[in-house]
Symmetry: C2
Subunit: 214 residues, 2 copies
Amino acid sequence: LWARPQVQGKVVTFPKYVCVYHELLQEHFKRTMEFSPAEMAAIVPYYKEKKVAKGAYLLQQGQICQLEGFVVEGCFKISTIDDKGLEKVLYFAARDWWVMDIDSFANRTASNLDIQALEDSTILYISEQDKEKLYQEVPKVERLFRIIYQKAIVAWQRRLMRNQTMNAEERYHYFITTYPEINELVTNKLIASYLGITQEFLSMIRKRRSTKRN
Amino acid sequence: LWARPQVQGKVVTFPKYVCVYHELLQEHFKRTMEFSPAEMAAIVPYYKEKKVAKGAYLLQQGQICQLEGFVVEGCFKISTIDDKGLEKVLYFAARDWWVMDIDSFANRTASNLDIQALEDSTILYISEQDKEKLYQEVPKVERLFRIIYQKAIVAWQRRLMRNQTMNAEERYHYFITTYPEINELVTNKLIASYLGITQEFLSMIRKRRSTKRN
DNA sequence: TTCATTATTTAAACTAGTTTAAGAGCGTTG
DNA sequence: CAACGCTCTTAAACTAGTTTAAATAATGAA
C-alpha cells in the first residue's frame, strides 16, 4: 500500500514518504493535462490523506465545507434533507470522484448538504487556504481546475437533460449500467432518492424489469 | 450606442473604436475579479460582436459549437429535440448570460443542442482558437474562467436540487420570480418545456394560481 | 385586411409515480 | 434467544402530471 511515488519510471522526491493513493490523484490530473515530475512534486504534497469511517460525516448541513476532497477508497453520498424531511441524494462519489460542497467551499457559506461515508473511505483533500496557495505557487493549476470544472459543468448539464428526457425506468437503467459498482454498494432507497423517485416505485420498476427478462 | 470605452474614468486605448457592449462584458468580468485597464485592454478585443436576428440559429444539432458567446442584447433558448420529437429547453440566456454548448465547444464534438435567438439579439463571442490564445496571452484569464465555471457548477447543482425537491407549481413560482424578464418574453410552451412539464399542465397551474389569488 | 399558423385554454380519460399500510427478510444488539 | 431497527417488497388507493381533442385567442405573413 505504501511506496515511493514514481513518475515515468523515475522516483520522485517528496518531502517524505507519500501513500500510493497520491498516484491515483496524479493519474487523475494527467488525464486532464500534462505535468512534469517537478510540477507534480510541487502539487501533490498539498493534498493530505484523511480516513473516514463508514457512517461518519465529512460535512453536515450548516457547516462550511472546508475541503475539496478526492476519493481514493470507498464511497460517499452527498445529500440534503428537504422541507418535508425527506433525504434527497444529489450524487454519489466513489473512487476517482471529487467530493465537496463546491458552493460552500468557494463562497464560505453554510452548506445545505450532508456528506456521509457509505463504507470505510479515504480521501485526499486540500483546504481552501491551501488551494489558494497552490494556485499561486503553480499557476498551471488554475488551468487544470478550469478544465476540471468545465467537464463538471458538462456532466451536470447532461444529467439535467437526462432527467428531462428519460422516465424513471430509463434513468434507472442508465444508472445501473453506468455505475454498476455504486449500484452494488448502495441501498435501493438511496438509488431511488438519487433518481428522484420513491423506493416503492423503484421496487416496482425492478420487478417489471426482472419479469420482463424471463 | 458607440463610444470610446472607459475604465475608472480614463479612456482606454483599444485597437479601434469598440462598442459599449464591451463595457457590459468588462463589468461582468470585474464582478468575478479585478483587472487593470491594461489587462482589460488586452482581453476585451478578443471578443467580437455578432448580431443574431430573431428566429436565427447560433447553433444547430450536429454542428460543432465554434464560439463562447456573451449575451449583451436579446435572449436565446438552448434546447434539444428528444427521441419522441419533443423540444426540451435546457435554459434561456438573456443579457449578461453565457450562451454556448460548452461540451461541444471544449471537446469539438457534434452538438445535441439548438441555440436560437428569441428576439433580435447581440452577442460578444470568442472562438475556441482565440480563447486558447487569450489564455496564453493573459494567464489571469484561466483564473477568471476557473471561477466563472465554478459558479456555473453551483448554479447547475442548485437547479438539479430544485428539480428534486420542488413540484411543478413551486418550480414555476421560482422561475417567474427569479427571471421575470424571461417570463415576459418567452411563450408558456417554452417555459413549460424548461420546467419539464407539458404546456397544458402549466396552463392548469396558471389558472389555479390566478383564481387562488382572488 | 385576410388567411394560416401557432399559442393558449379547457376538459375528459389516462398513466406515471406517490402514499399509506403491512409483512417478510436480515443483521445487530442486549 | 428475543427484540429491534432497517431494507425491500407488495398492494390498494390516490394524485400529479400526460394525452388527446377541440375551441378560442393571438400572431405573423401575404
